[in-house]
């Protein structure tokens, strides 16, 4: 088998999210239909038009030693926590090269975020203004650089095949996973730690997103604010956290007897080239990405049983995505269970592709699709089978496949496909 068509599998998962401090508690929260959205307390949020968000359930200060945490931006803290879980979950007991299970030069890391160390940048500017030049942390640059989470995860596991950070706003996490698949397919690596992270719950990003009219202002009902596909949806709710997977060539996974969650079939990519922030209303670009995915992977739509949709709860975006799926999949969309897990986690921006890949992998592995909560009054333009209210069992027999969509400001469209093993 040539290096360009190697089979890639998922052997480990990790997450820290608004629903839980690890992937198991996150998954449990999703299946139970819990909301992670809360009021934003504190003086600095008081004047904002949006005073709700979905913070991580377990603060990193409870998990990471202080000397490490103080050198990492919050987005890198999340990434390291999720990567440690995924690494151990895949059966690795030490950094590469120490336990003989993978060579450092065959291991990569690709972790992305949408906006990097924005809280470090803003907080250190406050330090500069309030306390002076001398007090600005010497760790500021490595903390704010967008490749910081990827570099720190690479240091954790001793990745030497390559450490990368694709940036495409809210598609970043999914693009990272797609990039990692290609690293393995092309023969550059046998194992890659991949995912997305984001930590942007700060007054400035919230003010900026709110002024774009992109966010829900349902401050009185935080748990009902993120409501994809519902007629009353009025924008996304900002979430934070990270989701990370361990991708591995099937041969490498088999050689060490690793547990395999599912196969990664590949990715479909496109760009809208329509507007810097508005979704293209007919879903043209999204449809192109999904069509590319089918063409690239040979995925038979008849096998496709589940979509973890991008569905951020914005009026235009949710509709355009469903139109695109209908356009490409036709009647096959009728037998596909569509879930919008952002109804529970909020929108993790660059972290979304990470945690939603973890959710998609677990949906295939356990054969159950998580619910879309707060869908009380379905928008009549949403012509798809949305998993409403409660989790739904997926077919128990035969191979099943699922896709995870992520789209970003800038018109970036990424869709990833997975198949049960």
């Amino acid at each position: 088998m040539s290096p360009t068509n190697r089979t890639v599998v998922v052997t480990g998962i990790g997450a820290t999210t608004p629903l839980g401090g690890d992937s198991a508690s996150t998954w449990e929260g999703m299946l139970a239909g819990r909301s992670g959205v809360k009021p934003l307390e504190g003086e600095r949020f008081a004047d904002l038009p949006v005073r709700i968000a979905a913070p991580v359930a377990v603060d990193p200060s409870e998990v990471l030693p202080r000397p490490l945490a103080r050198k990492l931006d919050r987005s890198a803290q999340f990434a390291v926590i999720a990567a440690r879980e995924a690494w151990a979950d895949a059966g690795y007991t030490a950094p590469a090269g120490e336990d003989g299970s993978v060579a450092p030069d065959r291991l990569g890391a690709v972790i992305a975020s949408g906006i990097g160390g924005v809280t470090t940048l803003l907080d250190q500017y406050d330090v500069l203004k309030d306390k002076g030049v001398r007090r600005v942390s010497p760790h500021t640059v490595p903390m704010l650089m967008p490749n910081g989470p990827s570099a720190n995860v690479g240091l954790e596991v001793n990745a030497q095949a390559g450490v990368h950070t694709p940036v495409s706003a809210c598609a970043s996490g999914a693009e990272a996973i797609g990039y990692a698949v290609e690293m393995i397919r092309s023969g550059r690596a046998d194992v890659v730690v991949a995912g997305g992270t984001e930590a942007a719950i700060h007054p400035l990003p919230i003010a900026a997103f709110a002024n774009m009219m992109a966010m829900s202002k349902n401050n009185e009902n935080p748990e009902q604010a993120s409501r994809p596909y519902d007629k009353g949806r009025d924008g996304f709710v900002l979430g934070e956290g990270a989701g990370v997977v361990i991708l591995e060539s099937a041969e490498h996974a088999a050689s060490r007897g690793a547990r395999v969650y599912c196969e990664v079939l590949g990715q479909g990519l496109s760009a809208d080239s329509h507007h810097i922030a508005q979704p293209e209303p007919t879903g043209r670009g999204v449809a192109a990405a999904v069509q590319n995915l089918l063409d690239n992977t040979g995925l038979d739509p008849a096998e496709l049983v589940h979509v973890n949709a991008h569905a951020t709860s914005t009026p235009q975006g949710d509709t355009a995505e469903i139109k695109a799926l209908r356009k490409v999949l036709g009647d096959d969309l009728d037998h596909i269970a569509v879930s919008a897990t952002k109804s529970m986690t909020g929108h993790l921006l660059g972290g979304a592709g990470g945690i939603e890949t973890v959710a998609t992998v677990l949906a295939l592995y356990h054969r159950i699709a998580p619910p879309t909560i707060n869908l009380d009054d379905l928008d009549e333009d949403i012509d798809a089978d949305i998993v409403r209210g409660e989790a739904r069992k997926l077919p128990v027999d035969g191979p099943i496949a699922a896709i995870n969509n992520s789209f970003g400001f800038g018109g970036h469209n990424v869709t990833l496909a997975f198949r049960s093993v």
Binding site: P65, R66, P67, L68, R70, K71, R134, R135, S137, P138, H139, P142
Partner: protein
């Protein structure tokens, strides 16, 4: 009142503990910041700034490279404290 050498070493130990997580009792005068105490060049800047505030002393960047051990730093502070 100026700090004694013993007080300075105690203070440095607390700073190194805060920044690098090394137990205070392990921060002794013959220990090297980089080789023994897990203080890299970036964290050394934090140690210096914290020491400047605590002991009312200025440690110019060009002098920092000479402060290899806890003893070097304690001697410098003892000599230059305000």
């Amino acid at each position: 009142m100026a700090a004694t050498q013993e007080e300075i070493v105690e203070g440095l130990a607390e700073i190194v503990n805060e920044i690098a997580g090394i137990p205070v009792e392990d921060v002794e005068i013959d220990k090297s910041f980089t080789d023994d105490l897990d203080v890299d060049s970036l964290s050394m800047v934090e140690v210096v700034v914290a020491a400047e505030e605590r002991f009312d002393v200025k440690i110019p960047d060009e002098d920092v490279k000479n402060l290899k051990t806890v003893g070097d730093a304690a001697d410098y502070i003892l000599k230059h404290q305000g």
